[in-house]
Amino acid sequence: MSDAAAPVVRLEHVVKTYHAGAVDVAAIRDISLDIPAHRFTMIVGPSGSGKTTLLNLIGCIDAPTTGRIEVCGEDVGRLRDNALADFRARNIGFIFQAFSLVPVLSAYENVEYPLLLVGMAAAERRHRTLAMLEAVGLAAQAQQRPNELSGGQKQRVAIARALVKQPTIVLADEPTANLDSANGAAIIALMRRMQADQRITFIFSTHDQQLMSHSEETFVIRDGMLMRHEEGVGQEEDKPAAPLARGEAITASEQGDR
């Protein structure tokens, strides 16, 4: 890793198994990794490889079957439900593929919502919300509801909502998947700019080559296993393997059914 600072996310032997009736499906198989702070980090892999599951575990909205996850220095496995919700409210921003804005709230209110959860004073809330809408170029659409916005505008609101509380980490699950290439490029540029301005750690799960070309750290996973870790801008999925950040890829047979 090029950044000497402590990792913002650390996974140690994390396993996630889903129970589908009588069948156990291993979504994540003994993954250990460190994600450095202030980077544009990509988790890539084919569909069903476990990208979203990994992102959910990092985002503290799912719990591992076994293993330990540390986010922002906190062992999140030890937090109970309310504490975990508060932790997410303070430290983690989410950007979803389907935008997931609250449909009855205006763009302004959607962006303001996370600030209400951290109990910010009204004046500061208003200042930050307007500044963020300005930053994503939606000041004029502040009072419009999601159904009055285009796909690109919705994703801008979602980005503003994720960033407005200045979280430590922003997790984005396929953020450009529902956008055309022009809008996708604009959104990527926006996130790049925000990341540079606010020094926030972005962690993406994506297939999008255009987005992957901006990656500073890339974790390639397949069948729930970490196949390789690459550093540097412009890494692509098909390049030869580089040394893993921590631990090694473990095959399913070595891992067994957990």
Binding site: A85, I92, F94, L105, Y113
Partner: protein, 466 residues
């Protein structure tokens, strides 16, 4: 934000909210209109009873259970002193509107004038006419009561009385009293001599009349025979001033009202005049319990052999009507509650299903489970509150329309129709508040189940929901 989201979601699902809201609003309206109806009935019923028999009556102990068969044996000794004691009591004095003695009696009434030779048993009551008229003006609930019509008793006419419509018919007084819808009796085929009691009563009446009573030529007269407290037969003549139709046939066929002095003369003759009851009419019905307690304290302190009964005890029919209507109201309330419960549960369940992804999103953003629960409960409560408020307004409109329609109805036990009215919701604040709060509570409780389901959804499952 909680209320903003709740309110906007209610508006967002307009049609669904309208259907659920309609159920709540109609429920509120039905409960308030029916509640207004029974409130009016209870008030009218209570007013009629209090006008007639007051709130409380002091009897000699045992009269309530055994006295009906022999009222003369249950007279209150020195009732004037007892009345003064009650009327002068500093606690009771401000509560009492009218205090008046009453004498119940029974005997045989005969009409032997103008070729008639009819007699029948009667149930009589002796009252002080001016006090009775004052009691009839009691109207604590400001009801639109009809004017008292027809002949009345008078303090200045000590022999003047009123009889029930049935008794007038039986005794052949229909034409004399110019009664409508009162057929003349069919000619009798019985050629047998009149019953001995009639002959005896006629001759006794004749002898009593000759001893000094003045015959009033302008009114029909009845001879009333009763046994005095000492067991001797006694007769007085009653000038029948008019008919007081009673709502219950058995009473109408037997009813005789007369001035107290005449009743006492009949029951006690030349002996000490007593009264079977001391009637207290209070300014306000709500003082009844306190007044009764005070009366019992006074009775106990003076070692009097008396007991106190309230108008409900004296009129079991009143209690039965109240219970019947209360049971119907409870039944309607339960039905409305169940309808509202299911309507809101259905609506909120659909809301939770439709907004599962939204629930996942805001949970991921850091909203706690209780926050989700509060969101959906707030929506249920708000929907209930808005719809219940609309229902209250509708109830006002319906009640006002009915009250202005000029309808009349015949209450149970009444002889004359009275205006049909509904108490406005504002006339009965506990009913209004209870209905509104009850429906909001039901809506809130109904929202709890779907809200709990929403709160328990795993975040990742909610986010995956399409």
């Amino acid at each position: 934000m909680l209320f903003k989201i709740a309110f906007r979601n209610i508006l967002r699902n307009r049609r669904r909210s309208l259907m659920t809201g309609s159920a709540v609003a109609v429920g509120a309206m039905a409960m308030l209109v029916f509640g207004g109806y029974i409130t009016y009935i209870f008030s009218a019923f209570e007013t009629g009873l209090v006008q007639r028999i007051g709130h409380l009556t002091v009897f000699r102990s045992g009269y309530f259970v055994f006295g009906a068969g022999n009222p003369a044996a249950y007279g209150i000794d020195d009732y004037q002193r007892v009345m003064r004691t009650i009327a002068d009591d500093p606690v009771l004095k401000p509560m009492i509107r009218v205090i008046t003695p009453t004498q119940s009696l029974l005997g045989i009434a005969g009409n032997f004038s103008g070729g008639n030779n009819a007699a029948k048993t009667f149930l009589g009551t002796g009252v002080i006419p001016s006090n009775q008229q004052r009691m009839r003006q009691w109207n604590e609930y400001d009801l639109p009561l009809p004017e008292t019509q027809g002949a009345q008793l008078s303090d200045d006419a000590p022999q003047r009385g009123l009889i029930g419509g049935g008794m007038a018919r039986i005794l052949g007084l229909c034409q004399t009293l110019k009664m409508l819808d009162c057929p003349a009796p069919p000619p009798s085929h019985d050629t047998a001599p009149a019953a001995p009691v009639d002959q005896n009563l006629a001759s006794l009446a004749q002898s009593e009349l000759s001893s000094g009573d003045v015959k009033n030529a302008s009114m029909p007269q009845l001879d009333l025979l009763s046994a005095t407290a000492s067991g001797a037969p006694n007769v007085v003549t009653l000038d029948v001033a008019g008919v007081a139709v009673q709502g219950v046939k058995e009473l109408d066929d037997n009813f005789v009202a007369m001035p107290l002095a005449l009743a006492q003369q009949l029951v006690y003759g030349r002996g000490e005049h007593k009264a079977t009851g001391i009637v207290l009419q209070l300014h306000r019905s709500e003082d009844m319990r306190a007044a009764r307690a005070r009366l019992q304290t006074l009775i106990a302190a003076q070692h009097l052999d008396l007991e106190v009964r309230d108008f409900a005890e004296l009129t079991p029919f009143y209690v039965q009507v109240v219970r019947l209507f209360s049971a119907i109201f409870l039944f309607i309330t339960l039905i409305m509650g169940v309808i509202v419960l299911f309507a809101v549960v259905n609506t909120m369940t659909m809301n939770v299903m439709e907004r599962t992804n939204e629930i996942g999103t805001i949970r991921a953003m850091g909203v706690r489970r209780n926050g989700i629960r509060a969101q959906f409960v707030t929506e249920g409560s708000l929907l209930g509150a808005i719809a219940a408020t609309v229902g209250v307004l509708l109830a006002f409109v319906v009640a006002a329309a009915i009250n202005h329609a000029g309808m009349t109805w015949l209450p149970p036990g009444n002889a004359t129709p009275v205006p049909f009215r509904l108490a406005l919701p504002s006339d009965h604040p506990p009913l209004l508040l209870g209905t509104w709060l009850g429906l909001v509570l039901v809506a809130t409780v109904a929202a709890l189940l779907p809200a709990n389901r929403a709160a328990r959804l795993p975040v990742v499952d909610a986010l995956r929901h399409v």
